[in-house]
Symmetry: C2
Subunit: 508 residues, 2 copies
């Protein structure tokens, strides 16, 4: 380039920098770097991230450390001595003169995968572009290679693509886009990427306690969960709590021929269905004593916010193929403010081509209970166990001994995940209002303000241990199949997410 | 050997032949050939025999043809033009002066296998010896090689080892042992080995009709099913009928996050458990209208025979780890004379480490209905479908269309296997009594005479199409895990089975 052209280029850059909003400059930076951003993200998604796979979890953490270092953020792992802990990745950027400190949270671990359940051509840890959800016949972009233009209406498939490596990706690239666009963040920034969210944040409380000083802040921004079903951007002020219960009911010690023992040997699948069926009435109201007793009613401002959330039920019913939702006519948004009892999965022997004419030896089911403000994990699971005992079951927490099998006609093993309670942040805090305003700057479309997500995060820990204010700002599409096969993220929402996170970094 | 020794040997052989009963001579032949008999059987079990695997099914048929040819029996395949038919293997031996013709039946196909469910070290199609059932801690005889002595208390593992290649093995070796021991069978013998029993004998009726003349007989002897739980030899005069129903209940078209949609999106697993639970009361009595209506009461001689069957409930309860059997106190043998509704298997999403917090897209269950005399497959399954409709379900026989999902709040897909009705042979027929007497010659222990097996075979076809008399003479151990993982046969029972089948071949 000649000296003249250099001068011209500098002038143009300076001019456009002056004329454009920070959001436009972040967007321009992203547009110029889409290929590199996506190449790096695909590489990130190629590292298996099932929470229990600690070897690969460490590789993910190392990859994030590297991403941060490349962006000039000193990164460290926050660990605790407990064996089997997945470390959190932490980083910090101090801004001279900043009055506030904001911590950006995402988690890099993912739910378990059953590769057989993924659509043909999709694998959990081989990210590929699809032109639409595979459930809607979306085809794989088989010809894509790095450097090709990326259609923003495509989706990128893979475990963690939406839940929640998208949080890590948008947060770090938002910061990078600001820096590279010569925009200084207005707040001190901290970054905290958890590695145990999908197993109930087993050690998060310990990590918080050990590193309490490092994590001091005015606000935590949680980049997790989906944008509203309408596609609108959303700010959420709470989450439901969650706990898993794993149930196993026992039949004969060995599988029996269903003809030679049918009518005599108890069938554990029949026992399990009768037990589970006893837990809900025909309108899907939970019949367990006291299940709804502890629920704290919504505040006036929460009710007002709920009333403004767009009603998407008609389009959801159509998209999901649901003729009649549960809840006996109660609006969707209100149902999400109540506790749940959900069957995550169940199995006994085999179905389909592998089914045999047998009386199975056991039947398993996994429940998840979502908790709302007022519920307590121990109290709520205790009620479920009381209900199970009232059906005549003896509860054990290990495989039954021969003596127990002889003694108890109805035996059930119950093991529980590491659950946690719900959390809600008051919507009228000044900093809460500033987040709403910041996110609103990224779109002319009114954003959705929600008192609580239907989903869960251990945000009660942030409140209890760190005394922190917590607000969730989701970035991914609602139809991302998170926690299931064919998980995917809409490319445009990654791009939007970078702008949303950058806007929050400019809160003064 | 000198001429003198040869003469001596001949004399000894002639003497021992004179002094010994046919049973003793068959036993002596077997003892001298155990290694070869077992080597051939292990080779037979190594050929996968899942009914749907037609390539390997043909290899099994070819192996049986070879076994028969080596024993001097001309063998042919009985086929019908219907595509996908597994052929029956047929052979015939005419005995000069014989007055009766007896057909020996077994089936060489096996139930589906899920190798992951087999114990460590056991594979469905790699037969190995175990010293006891693996469920009782039985170890694999890892050092065994052909030529080593075989302990008759061992078991040989593998799909089909008991159900029902054991039938083929004992029948053909019984004939061979007679011939090699210079004992002429008293009846004309026919051999019929089916290849579709485990999928409901789909083409058996057609095969019977096409080959009716070849199959003319005075008696069919069915070598299938287990000996009595007490270990006693058994002759059975009937079987229950059987039909499978595969049920699929639908939820949302894609798996949903249980937090973001919980309480709103219907959970198909909950729907399925409520549906299945509605089919039985707490005493496991079937609640489906008319389910027990068609049952023909037992005759006086059937009742008398049942009364003599040893009561094994106490030892079975202990062995199987059952504190309280179903049936509200009705004796085991009577329960087997009633129709059943059994859950063979069920599945929705995942359990255990692969479980995610999802609302599944579907829940599947497989039922098997055992039918007794008086029941009809179409009528009985029709009652189940009426019951399902009465629970508000729309029944379809294919995956639902979008329009059907929109229209019907409760959709269920039902597909059915090829089922069949029960069969009973009158116990007082002279030839029936001759079979009882023949089997009794093989043991001083009184044999068990049973009006009907709890298990099923399509014996009604033998009666309807061939107008045949049918009696079942099981040879394998009751604790053989047939239809399930870790299937096995007790070696001594194979040896006994050869003697039992040989005894029947001597009926005049």
């Amino acid at each position: 380039m000649s000296k003249k052209s250099v001068l011209f280029f500098v002038l143009i850059t300076a001019f456009s920098a002056r004329a454009q909003s920070p959001q436009q400059r972040v967007q321009q930076y992203r547009k110029a770097h889409e290929i590199a951003l996506m190449d790096e993200y695909r590489q990130f998604l190629s590292i298996p991230n099932v929470s229990a796979d600690s070897t690969n979890i460490r590789k993910n953490a190392a990859f994030i450390v590297q991403m941060m270092q490349q962006r000039g953020i000193a990164a460290t792992l926050l660990d605790v001595p407990a064996p089997g802990t997945n470390p959190a990745v932490f980083g910090e950027v101090k801004v001279p003169g900043a009055k506030k400190t904001i911590v950006f949270y995402a988690h890099y671990d993912g739910q378990p995968v059953n590769p057989k359940q993924w659509a043909e051509g999709l694998q959990p840890f081989v990210p590929v572009f699809i032109i639409a959800p595979v459930e809607q016949g979306g085809k794989i972009v088989t010809t894509y290679k790095s450097g090709d233009p990326i259609d923003p209406t495509w989706r990128l498939s893979g475990r963690g693509s939406a839940d929640d490596k998208a949080g890590v990706m948008t947060i770090l690239n938002a910061y990078d886009a600001l820096v590279k666009s010569k925009i200084t963040p207005a707040a001190n920034l901290k970054f905290f990427f958890e590695g145990e969210e999908e197993v109930g944040s087993t050690h998060l409380g310990e990590i918080f306690e050990k590193h309490r000083d490092k994590l001091a802040s005015d606000l935590w921004v949680i980049a997790d969960g989906p944008r509203h079903v309408s596609g609108k951007r959303v700010v959420q002020f709470g989450v439901r709590g969650d706990v898993n219960m794993h149930l196993t009911v026992y039949g004969p010690k060995r599988p029996l021929h269903s003809g030679n023992y049918g009518n005599w040997a108890p069938n554990p699948a029949m026992r399990m269905v009768k037990l589970l069926a006893s837990m809900k009435d025909d309108n899907d109201k939970v019949l367990i004593n006291g299940f709804y007793d502890d629920v704290v009613p919504l505040t006036a401002s929460e009710k007002a916010a709920l009333a403004k959330v767009p009603n998407m039920e008609a389009s959801l019913k159509k998209e999901l193929g649901i003729a009649q939702p549960d809840g006996n006519g109660t609006p969707f948004v209100e149902l999400l403010m109540r506790p749940t009892l959900n069957i995550n999965g169940m199995q006994s022997a085999n179905v389909g081509a592998m089914a045999g004419n047998v009386i199975p030896t056991k039947a398993e089911a996994v429940l998840d209970l979502r908790l709302v403000r007022g519920n307590d994990v121990a109290r709520q699971t205790g009620r479920v166990m009381d209900h199970i005992r009232a059906q005549g079951y003896q509860i054990i927490d290990h495989e039954p001994t021969d003596a127990q099998r002889q003694q108890y006609p109805k035996l059930i093993k119950i093991t529980m995940g590491h659950g946690y309670n719900a959390q809600r942040t008051p919507m009228d805090l000044p900093i809460a209002q500033e987040v709403i305003a910041a996110v609103q700057t990224t779109s002319p479309d009114p954003i959705v303000v929600s008192p609580s997500s239907g989903g869960s995060l251990p945000l009660y820990l942030f409140e209890e241990v760190l005394k922190a204010n917590v607000v969730s700002v989701p970035v991914v599409n609602y139809d991302n199949n998170q926690h299931a096969e064919n998980e995917n993220v809409l490319v445009q929402y990654l791009w939007d997410g970078i702008e949303i996170m950058a806007a929050i970094m400019l809160i003064k």
